[in-house]
């Protein structure tokens, strides 16, 4: 594929996509000191040039619509097209966020029902849809835990316990909420080290953040004991919903004793990842945290649906966005939930788990080392390539890049941090037997290549629009915007 020059290089002075701007606009009028002296550097191109440029750029992406995408912990499942089409109906797109509730009842009823569905799925007492991504859902969760302790006069409770395998957002969130992070080790089989937990708990414990199944791809078997220990110590339990896909309709965070959960609707409810967002991080809460939910929340009244704000929830942790979160993403999640229904939701976790365990069994059969071989895979599992690294000098990165030449997106690499040379593999429920077999064959072929020609592995990929990029140069001689002199 040829290099696509930047849109700025395609620009010609005086060229316009004339149909796009108002035809009879008055020039802007204000005193001189407020005005711009020189027009900003934006492209001057036609509509066709624009269409061609961005269409060609799109073709340089791997995506679920074009490739198997087993990126662990990201749940890259098929994004049904109906979700997009129906979320983009003009009635939904045209509604101003501050328009009165009376003129948005169709939208608000949909949001109310989504709150109810998510309550049922998680076993929680209340749901707020406003957080705009997983990390913001985490923020909301920890902020509610903090608010709960403050309301009880226990300001000193500011320690958040986080297992060492957790996503980086967990400790970063705790800090943003003004808490301290206490890291917990994991035992050899992937469960939280209970003795370490007992030692870490104390009068300053605010709560614990757990992902279950964990980022190691296994279900935390001691969850009941952890729940008791943390609650007895006066702390609360936070459920990171990154891996909710693994247990949908089988077991609920509320029943496990969690006080708060965030859901990644862009994972479990299949809203698009969009090249890195927008996501949606709805939060569910148990009884203790109901008064602290972020606003606004949709409430049901005698005359219809209305917003609940600080007036109705005076102890709320407040507003997390300019309006009410990623509404369009929420509409997509709702359509997905209705298309699946209660039966389909259970099938999600069943087939995600079947695919993961099959892939794990087959890769083991083919001689790959599984990080936690005695455990059942959840919807994902970890392969460690440490022996390939030792014997052939080929790293997890080499395999990740090599997979791209086999038209598979790479699994997550080097996460979790505690397993060396690891691939975190999540096939999802929407992939077929044949797709899994192609991936296995690619892994086998790559290992053969590692054995026979490791240098070729170090140079992969060969078939993508560009080959391995010089990241050191990118960080050292920063080139973050296009300049005419920067053109080679």
């Amino acid at each position: 594929m040829t290099e696509e020059t930047s849109i700025f290089e395609k620009s010609s002075k005086g060229r316009r996509a004339t149909a796009q701007a108002p035809l009879d606009a008055q020039p802007f009028d204000a005193p001189d000191r407020f005005l711009r002296k020189k027009a900003p550097l934006l492209p001057e191109v036609t509509e066709l040039q624009t269409v061609r440029h961005f269409t060609r750029l799109s073709q340089k992406n791997f995506s679920i619509d074009t490739n198997f995408y087993p990126l662990g912990s990201c749940t890259m499942k098929y994004n049904p097209r109906a979700c997009n089409t129906l979320a983009m109906l003009p009635g939904f797109l045209g509604r101003h966020p501050l328009a009165p509730a009376s003129s948005g009842q169709g939208y608000m009823e949909t949001m109310f029902e989504l709150q109810e569905i998510l309550k049922s799925v998680t076993g929680m007492e209340g749901v707020s849809l406003t957080p705009m991504a997983g990390a913001q859902g985490e923020f909301a969760g920890v902020a509610m835990i903090r608010a709960y302790h403050l309301a009880r006069g226990e300001e000193h409770r500011n320690e958040i316990l986080v297992p060492d395998a957790a996503h980086g957002t967990n400790p970063a969130t705790a800090i943003m909420c003004g808490c301290k992070v206490v890291e917990l080790p994991t035992d050899a089989e992937g469960d939280v080290d209970i003795d370490a937990l007992k030692k870490a708990l104390g009068p300053n414990t605010a709560g614990i953040m757990l992902t279950n199944p964990s980022t190691l791809g296994v279900f935390e078997r001691h969850i009941a004991e952890i729940e008791k220990l943390v609650h007895d110590a006066g702390g609360l339990l936070y459920y990171d919903g990154a891996n909710l896909n693994a247990i949908l309709g089988k077991v609920r965070p509320g029943d496990m004793g969690f006080d708060v959960i965030h859901m990644n609707l862009h994972k479990t409810f299949s809203t698009p990842h969009g090249g890195g967002g927008p996501g949606s991080g709805a939060v569910g809460v148990g009884k203790r945290l109901l008064p602290f939910m972020p606003v606004p929340v949709v409430g049901k009244t005698d005359s219809g649906f209305d917003w609940l704000t600080e007036k109705e929830l005076p102890q709320s942790i407040g507003r997390l966005s300019g309006f009410m979160g990623n509404a369009g993403v929420l509409l997509r999640a709702y359509v997905y939930a209705r298309l699946l229904g209660r039966e389909g939701m259970q099938r999600v976790s069943e087939f995600a788990t079947l695919n993961a365990n099959y892939l794990m069994a087959r890769l083991k059969e083919e001689g790959f080392e599984i990080a936690f071989p005695t455990r059942r895979a959840s919807h994902e599992f970890i392969v460690t390539l440490k022996s390939e690294a030792k014997e052939y000098g080929t790293t997890a990165t080499d395999f990740a890049k090599g997979l791209l030449d086999h038209e598979c997106h790479s699994p997550t690499v080097y996460f979790p941090l505690l397993v060396p040379e690891c691939l975190l593999i999540e096939p999802t429920e929407t992939e077929s037997y044949e797709a899994l077999e192609r991936f296995i064959q690619a892994m086998v072929d790559l290992r053969r290549l590692a054995e026979t020609d490791p240098d070729r592995m170090h140079g992969a990929p060969y078939s993508t629009p560009v080959r391995r990029l010089d990241e050191l140069k990118a960080a050292k001689s920063l080139d973050l915007t296009w300049h005419s002199e920067a053109t080679a």
Partner: protein, 457 residues
């Protein structure tokens, strides 16, 4: 089974390979007493046809109203190309471009976006976007605290002409890190903050000053003077700007003698539908020397093994997946897809087209203000240059009037009595280029009728 490809044969083969006799057996590590039987309260599965009908009915209930609210979200014409191409599967269903070789499309789009935002704001570098304008301001406040090492106070001066929702969001997101946001009142006659209000803080330890231009009332703040005052007092300047306005208004990089330090705002006006408030995106730009304190993803251009130009995420050591508890923010995602749409929008409009949009917005709002002010009992609250919106004062409470307008399918503006009780019966109205002269006439005649009826009664 919707979206699940497995045949009965596939299932049998796979279970045999795993060595279990049922799918249920794969859940045997979960304590059995926690397992549930099903989700009885979730609606049953519905066909695509049935859900399509349901959603069409609901969307139709919401689609009859002509909108005159801005207040941070603006209805602009979006060229057909924008969402047609943005929802191509290759953009729509891709993930964060961690594998750069397989994500050059998304990465180049973001690089071009960064270039356009830097150009619009008059700054050197941009990140790949944050969640929305309000959270971008909260992140800017936190960044200002990290940057201004000489200031120990974590005090930020925030004029009350900054969007009330942005101020609320800042308190929720940054309050727990001990940032103090101190409100600076606007002058009653002008709707902007007078320099005297800032001068009351002469010589104090202030970490940063926030300036919204145009401000929440659509009025122009004296950005050059405020910027110079802030810098003279050791404070950084955080600019909150409307990107459409930057086609015509002085970019924050040129405010005062040295320019603003951090620029942020709501990206929605650039090709993103109103859509009940999201997904939108927040933009953030700054100078190159401060980029290491900027939160969020950043794309850089580099070369590959063969020396070809290519793009990659860079400066990742600032981010949570590397730095964990010491990251600049907990943010993980950007609003990639929405930014893709905006990049196309800016490409199609160009500087000249965007200036035309700005001009049309100003003149339509001007016409609206004139038409409504001609009605007995309505007058403009402030005079002078405005952009996008204006404050009107009514001779009676605004709420009931808006309700009656809504019954006539007119969303007549945003009532200010909740956020600004000191302004009395004040109404914030907006007309973008999408409101025709006929729209404005029908609003004016409806309002005339409503106010006259009330008088008779």
């Amino acid at each position: 089974m919707p979206f699940i490809p497995h045949t009965a044969d596939d299932i049998a083969k796979m279970l045999e390979t795993i060595g279990v006799d049922s799918i249920d057996a794969l859940f045997d590590e979960i304590p059995q007493e926690l397992m549930i039987d099903g989700l009885p309260d979730v609606p049953a599965q519905a066909s695509e046809m049935a859900v399509t009908r349901l959603m069409h009915e609901r969307a139709a209930r919401d689609s009859h109203d002509v909108n005159f609210i801005g207040a941070g979200a603006y209805e602009h014409h979006i060229p057909a190309v924008v969402w047609e191409l943005t929802t191509r599967g290759e953009f729509y269903s891709a993930y964060t471009p961690y594998q750069a070789e397989a994500s050059q499309g998304t990465l180049q789009v973001i690089y071009e976006y960064q270039t356009m935002m830097a150009a619009l704001t008059g700054m050197e570098v941009s990140n790949a976007s944050l969640y929305d304008g309000a959270t971008a301001l909260a992140e800017s406040a936190l960044m200002a605290v990290r940057l201004n090492r000489k200031s120990k106070s974590k005090r930020l001066l925030v004029p009350s002409t900054v969007s009330p929702r942005y101020r609320d969001t800042c308190r929720s997101l940054a309050g727990s890190q001990e940032l103090k946001f101190e409100l600076v009142r606007f002058a009653d006659d002008s709707g902007v903050v007078s320099m005297d209000s800032f001068k009351a803080y002469d010589g104090e330890d202030i970490t940063a000053v926030v300036i919204q231009q145009p401000n929440f009332f659509g009025r122009m703040e004296e950005v050059h003077e405020i910027t110079n005052w802030a810098h003279a007092n050791g404070a950084l300047v955080i600019a909150v700007v409307n990107p459409t306005s930057l086609a015509v208004l002085c970019p924050p990089g040129e405010w005062g003698d040295k320019g603003a330090d951090i620029v942020c705002g709501e990206g929605q006006p650039l090709g993103v539908p109103l859509s009940s408030g999201g997904p939108y995106y927040g933009f953030m730009t700054c100078s190159k020397k401060n980029v290491r304190q900027m939160p969020g993803r950043i794309v850089g251009r580099t070369v590959d093994l063969d020396g070809r130009s290519g793009y990659t995420l860079t400066l990742q050591a600032r981010e949570q997946h590397i730095r964990r508890s010491r990251a600049t923010s907990n943010i993980c995602t950007n609003q990639g897809l929405v930014v893709t749409a905006s990049t196309m929008y800016m490409t199609l409009l160009g500087a000249e087209g965007l200036a035309r949009v700005a001009g049309a917005c100003q003149s339509q709002t001007g016409k609206l203000v004139n038409a409504l002010s001609a009605i007995d009992g309505v007058r403009p609250r402030f005079s002078g240059p405005q952009f996008h919106e204006a404050v009107l004062e009514l001779d009676r409470p605004v709420g009931p009037v808006l309700e009656q307008l809504a019954r006539r399918h007119i969303i007549g503006g945003f009532a200010l009595d909740g956020d600004y009780p000191e302004l009395g019966n004040a109404l914030l109205v907006c007309a973008t280029e999408t409101r025709t002269d006929e729209d404005i006439d029908s609003y004016a005649s409806a309002l005339r009728d409503i106010l006259a009826e009330a008088k008779v009664a």
